[in-house]
Symmetry: C2
């Protein structure tokens, strides 16, 4: 059993987090989803969903997948050194790290993506390069895997990446069954990305 440690913050993007949470949560024999935020308590997403979280001080998982969604709230957090430092130490002990959308930009501030392949939201792709030029940002990708780090493109892409991650660690059939059960047309090919040219 691995904990999926979802790091939330005010103005996280709703679907970035809750698409993947839906999928992980359907496999309770493998994953226990837990929601955190820097201070704990209630944090509010864009758009306007208030959820209950544990504070990062309560973090005590041993085997865990660090999960970082994106959203407009990342614009402020990239400058929060104390948060980035905490995120870095959580990442250094994580078995896997998964980010969705601008979550990869937030995570890149830890320096742990430097020299690695990663992707992000295609609408703000210039911002990725400005914030962290030492990352090898790949524009055309639904998601990118580099070692134990998975980064996805914008919002909906987090669901495809999560299914891809589950296929990698639990096998294709487990992922395919989940996508069929939620009637989701899983993009199984991580290079599928019409949005790279659109935005």
């Amino acid at each position: 059993m691995k904990e999926v440690s979802v790091i939330l913050f005010n103005n996280f993007e709703t679907l970035d987090a809750f698409g993947p949470v839906e999928i992980f949560g359907r496999l309770p024999e493998h994953f226990a989803v837990k929601l955190y935020s820097p201070e704990g308590g209630i944090v509010t997403s864009s758009p306007n969903v208030s959820v209950v979280t544990e504070p990062l001080t309560a973090f005590n998982a041993e085997e865990y997948i660090l999960f970082v969604p994106g959203g407009i709230g990342t614009r402020e957090l990239v400058h929060n050194e104390s948060f980035i430092s905490k995120l870095k130490s959580l990442a250094e002990n994580a078995e896997y790290i998964l980010t969705v959308c601008t979550g990869s930009i937030l995570f890149s501030k830890t320096g742990l993506l430097n020299g690695k392949n990663a992707t992000s939201n295609k609408r703000v792709f210039q911002w990725t390069q400005l914030e962290s030029p030492e990352v090898n940002w790949i524009k055309k990708a639904r998601w990118v895997k580099d070692g134990n780090i998975y980064t996805s493109s914008g919002v909906s892409a987090g669901m495809d990446m999560t299914l891809g991650f589950i296929a990698d660690i639990l096998g294709y059939e487990t992922a395919k069954t989940q996508s069929d059960q939620i009637e989701y047309d899983w993009k199984e090919d991580s290079t599928w990305d019409p949005y790279a040219e659109l935005h």
Copy 2:
């Protein structure tokens, strides 16, 4: 400006609600999303997301879209006469009613779907017919529109229905722009449904 009045309950399915909420919430000039539950306060989804809601007694919207997700929690609520009666009165004054997954089964207990076309989750399709045989349940459909009532197939289908609904009332381009922005491969054809045969 219309309120999207999302009716939550314990063990609602996370993505049933928050896929559509993501989409509606990105159009704040047209929609204001508000989360309710029978008693208000914190309700917890499958899987395990605790969200803050208003009680139904605080409901005072005038122009609103009643939105009913599904989930395992509907199994208990279909037998809750007081809730069904409240749901019926909310529906009678709603401009539109949208349901996702087994939300249509819950809503069918109001009697307001009798004689109308509707769909639901394909994995529990037999249950739809047992609960409400007077509804014209359509198996092969991503979503179904009958008058001002939209019902969708399972979980992910709620996002396609929501985009279809937005196309109907605000125009195709508005819906398409939203789906592109969240990098979502919108199934624009409401009859697209490979899951009808799969489950």
